[in-house]
């Protein structure tokens, strides 16, 4: 905290897109040397406000004061010239240019002078060093080959390259593993210490509590809580401000129906699905009447998986059956004929046909399935009326010329209705509540539950883990293009899901250590999350029968169901033998340098094996943890 004068103040910001009011009198202020959380539900206007501050969006009303001067931004160029930069979720990097060229991309837009590549490299190294990341990123590699986390690092370096004093991070953690999140927070802490003002836009509350100094909460385009110290708030208070009421009932569902659903016939079965380059090996099954969640980080291959199932992507291996019949669709029309409906992720580019009326958009899937020369709209009139009534959509707006004038939630309902009209056996939805306001989200959840209750198998992809856990009966976790766990949603919480979803590549050193341990000792090394009396195995290496702990990667079991219940209950840093004397196991907690709980590392040895000194193993695990 270098100064008490705010770096930036925004007051009375209003912005309307077409007929949708995105901002209606938002206010915000930022101190130098602080991390300021900007929170709100989907559609609350936090992204629009950050785009206003970054010059992407020109507001209709309101003013910005920056370093004591009124600020009028006409473009991102303006914002950059003033030292304001934004690091967005979908990065604005040029994939075919090198890291160094991308970092200094803004300079290419300036007039005059040639470029000195040696100079770029030197300054690039300096910037990365300032972030403490000089060894992480080669400067001459093309951005195309970088991971999501590395790309983000380039974005941050790019912001520093233009001398940014205000950096906006828009949902920066969505595609990062927990370890990468820690690294990002280290960088943010450094920047804060250097006096930079940081805006952190997120909906992951635990991260907000960890990194932010103050928070501003938005709802329906307005600021409902301005610049409140984070430490004096509880999670429940945050949620109440975001939602405007207690959240309790949103994810309510009929209890104990999960068991029933598991005995229902399988509606969709996917086995060994492969779709290069992203999807490597995905298998799962959905029962009739069940809601299955596909969880994972952004970029893990969930969207690609469902697109491949629906025939939108080429598959190189795998079998897809619907209702027991092999279908293997080569194009969406075949998937539709087999009884699959698909609501793609991006409404604007993948679902809405802007030049057709709302009614024709609703009837679009019907048009594809219709076997005749004419339109066959007449035959659907009754169903449409019934559907509209059940969705709470006013029938008179059906003839509106432009669907883009509707709110996100309304658009989404029409797209879902498009498929319900065909009575599908399986309905797949990719990020169904993206850009949908909180009130409508609830009705979409209810809609999906009603659809499932009628016997439709529902598959939901969502990056919002809270939503995924709240909505689904069962969750299949996809990481690095492979399905790695299949668990009842009731066993999971956001933290466990995040750890499960972490890319295997980012866990490479962890796996290597487990492999070495099991090779050296002839036992089985594993990494697991432990509850009161249940465990979830994140990784298991070593297959010697005599040392088999009774679970494999992705398993969730009660301690009693495994072969090492005594050790799991005891959690001792020394080898604890089981009652039957067959195996002995030691367990060590895994903590990152920032003190994050990453679960437990265990080593199970066969009964008569030579027991290595526990201290040496502990040393290795701690060394690994410290370097994570």
């Amino acid at each position: 905290m270098t100064s008490r004068d705010p770096l930036l103040t925004a007051t009375g910001i209003a912005k309307t897109f077409d007929r949708t009011r995105a901002l209606a009198g938002a206010q915000f202020d930022l101190m130098p040397g602080e991390v300021h959380g900007l929170l709100g539900a989907n559609g609350a206007g936090k992204s629009t406000l950050s785009k206003v501050i970054a010059g992407h969006v020109i507001p209709d009303e309101g003013q910005l004061v920056y370093r004591g001067q009124p600020l009028r931004l006409r473009s991102t160029r303006d914002a950059l010239d003033n030292g304001i930069a934004i690091v967005m979720q979908e990065t604005s990097l040029v994939p075919d240019l090198s890291v160094a060229e991308n970092i200094f991309l803004p300079e290419l837009g300036r007039k005059g002078r040639g470029i000195s590549y040696a100079g770029l490299h030197r300054r690039g190294r300096e910037l990365l060093a300032a972030l403490g990341q000089e060894y992480v990123l080669p400067l001459d590699i093309k951005v195309r080959h970088l991971s999501a986390a590395q790309r983000q690092l380039v974005e941050i370096a790019k912001a520093l390259g233009v001398g940014a004093e205000l950096i906006i991070f828009d949902e920066p953690t969505a595609s990062l593993s927990p370890i990468e999140v820690d690294r990002l927070f280290d960088i943010m802490t450094r920047l804060r210490a250097g006096g930079t003002g940081l805006i952190f836009v997120s909906h992951r509350l635990e991260e907000v509590f960890e990194i932010t100094d103050r928070v501003t909460i938005m709802r329906e385009g307005r600021t409902v809580l301005a610049s409140h110290p984070t430490a004096s708030l509880t999670q429940a208070e945050l949620i109440r401000h975001m939602v405007g009421r207690d959240l309790g009932g949103i994810y309510d569902r009929a209890p104990a129906s999960a068991g029933l659903k598991a005995s229902a016939p399988v509606a969709l079965q996917v086995t060994g699905l492969k779709s290069p380059p992203v999807v490597r090996d995905v298998s799962f099954a959905v029962h009739e009447g069940e809601i299955l969640g596909l969880g994972g980080l952004v970029g893990a291959g969930r969207s690609e998986t469902v697109e491949a199932i629906f025939g939108l992507r080429h598959r190189s291996a795998g079998t897809i059956t619907v209702g027991g019949k092999v279908v293997n669709p080569k194009k969406p029309a075949q998937a539709v004929r087999a009884g699959i409906g698909f609501v793609a992720e991006d409404r604007r580019s993948q679902n809405i046909v802007p030049d057709l009326s709302v009614k024709e958009n609703l009837l679009l899937a019907h048009l594809g399935a219709h076997r005749g020369f004419g339109l066959g709209y007449r035959s659907r009139e009754k169903e449409i009326d019934r559907l509209l009534a059940s969705l709470g959509l006013p029938a008179d707006r059906l003839l509106d010329a432009n669907m883009l004038n509707f709110s996100g939630g309304m658009q989404q309902k029409i797209i879902i209705a498009r498929w319900l009209l065909l009575n599908p056996k399986v309905l797949i939805l990719d990020e169904p509540t993206k850009g949908v306001d909180i009130g409508t989200r609830q009705s979409i959840y209810q809609l999906l539950r009603d659809v499932a209750a009628k016997g439709v198998a529902v598959v939901v992809v969502s990056s919002d883990f809270e939503e995924l856990i709240g909505l689904s009966d069962r969750i299949v976790v996809i990481s690095d293009g492979a399905s790695i766990a299949d668990l009842p949603a009731s066993l999971l919480d956001e933290e466990k899901l995040t750890l499960l979803a972490a890319p295997r590549t980012s866990m490479a050193r962890n796996t290597e250590m487990l492999k070495n341990l099991s090779l050296e000792t002839g036992g089985a090394g594993f990494w697991a999350l432990l509850d009161q009396d249940r465990m979830i195995c994140l990784n298991m290496v070593g297959a010697a029968d005599t040392a088999d702990p009774g679970f494999v990667t992705g398993d969730a079991k009660a301690f009693a169901e495994t072969r090492i219940p005594t050790a799991l209950k005891g959690r001792e840093p020394v080898f604890v033998p089981e009652v039957d004397g067959q195996r002995s196991t030691m367990l060590l907690p895994l903590r990152t340098s920032r003190g994050h709980d990453m679960g437990w590392v265990g080593l199970t040895l066969p009964g008569g094996a030579r027991v290595p000194p526990p201290e040496t193993i502990r040393g290795r695990v701690e060394a690994l943890a410290a370097s994570l």
Partner: protein, 326 residues
């Protein structure tokens, strides 16, 4: 996000806005204004015989513009129509020497459709740019027309062929009647059939159309087939009028057709446009040319005049539509 609901006042203004909001209506107004101006400049313009003359001149370009509308609605473009007309005209001229007229016409139309099929497949299957593929076809078509014809016009066309054009049915010349029927059919197809709506959906958002299970591939190819076939139909009528097939026939025809479609309100990005708009566009084009001839503007200046009027019309249109708010 809140949705602002229209007030009663906005609703009542809606009807007027819906009318002025339609590009076809605005262009129809332009056509009428143009007709008034031309009739003031030349007293001959509004005579019955000149009006029939305008209709007669609209037939060939009008037929080609239908195919062009289909193509442009999918977001494509067909630069090859002129040379397809030239080539199929020569095919017709040669075929009619040895075969009965219907067979010769069928052969020409099938060839036109075949060329369109090749373009369409290249565009849809290999995702090649329509502009480039049809540009290539344009060069190939013209070159083949010269080779097949031996660089000269074929003038020994059986004179009975002119009956195709000059027979009156229901008081209208056959070619004009044909044009009317064609536009009615095309309008019905684009408005009331699965295929027609799919063509709009493909042009408006191909991804969404594919994801909704529409037959995107088929309806991406079909417009080029229609366009090629109609180019052959158009040249058939030309030949029936002139009783001669020239390898140069249809030269620069694609430009007139594209201009007519665009004046009629179609978006070159696809998804927006209508067959009625195209008809108005064709009439505007023909009227301008006819009027300039009547006033006695030198043919060398006519190109500049037509070009300027097209650009001015679209400029005014763009300003007006921005004012109205789409």
């Amino acid at each position: 996000m809140t949705l602002t609901t229209p007030t009663a006042g906005q609703r009542s203004a809606g009807t007027f806005r819906r009318l002025t909001g339609r590009l076809e209506i605005r262009m129809l107004v332009l056509a009428i204004v143009l007709a008034c101006v031309l009739s003031l400049l030349s007293p001959y313009f509004l005579t019955r015989s000149n009006l029939f003359n305008i209709l007669d001149q609209s037939v060939v370009i009008g037929i080609v513009a239908v195919g062009m509308t289909f193509v442009i609605l999918t977001g494509g473009i067909d630069l090859s129509v002129g040379s397809v007309a030239g080539l199929t005209g020569i095919i017709l001229g040669l075929a009619v020497q040895n075969y009965p007229l219907p067979v010769a016409i069928l052969l020409a139309v099938t060839s036109g459709a075949g060329i369109g099929l090749i373009s369409g497949l290249l565009i849809a299957y290999f995702s090649l740019a329509p502009f480039v593929v049809t540009l290539g076809m344009m060069a190939i078509g013209r070159s083949l027309a010269y080779i097949l014809s031996g660089q000269t016009a074929i003038s020994n066309i059986p004179s009975g062929m002119s009956d195709l054009v000059y027979t009156d049915i229901l008081g209208l010349p056959a070619n004009v009647l044909f044009l009317c029927v064609l536009y009615l059919a095309a309008w019905g197809y684009l408005t009331y059939t699965k295929g027609g709506r799919t063509i709009y959906a493909v042009g408006s958002n191909k991804e969404a159309a594919r994801a909704a299970g529409l037959a995107v591939f088929f309806y991406s190819v079909l417009p080029y087939v229609v366009s090629g076939a109609l180019a052959a139909v158009a040249v058939t009528i030309s030949i029936a009028q002139l009783l001669s097939a020239d390898p140069l026939m249809g030269n620069a025809m694609e430009l007139d057709a594209i201009a007519a479609v665009v004046i009629g309100g179609a978006s070159l990005f696809g998804g927006r446009g209508s067959i009625i708009g195209t008809l108005i566009g064709v009439l505007i084009m023909v009227m301008i040319r006819n009027g300039l001839n009547l006033i006695g503007v030198s043919p060398f200046w006519q190109g500049s005049a037509i070009g300027s009027i097209i650009i001015a019309a679209l400029l005014i249109e763009s300003i007006v539509s921005r004012r109205i708010g789409r």
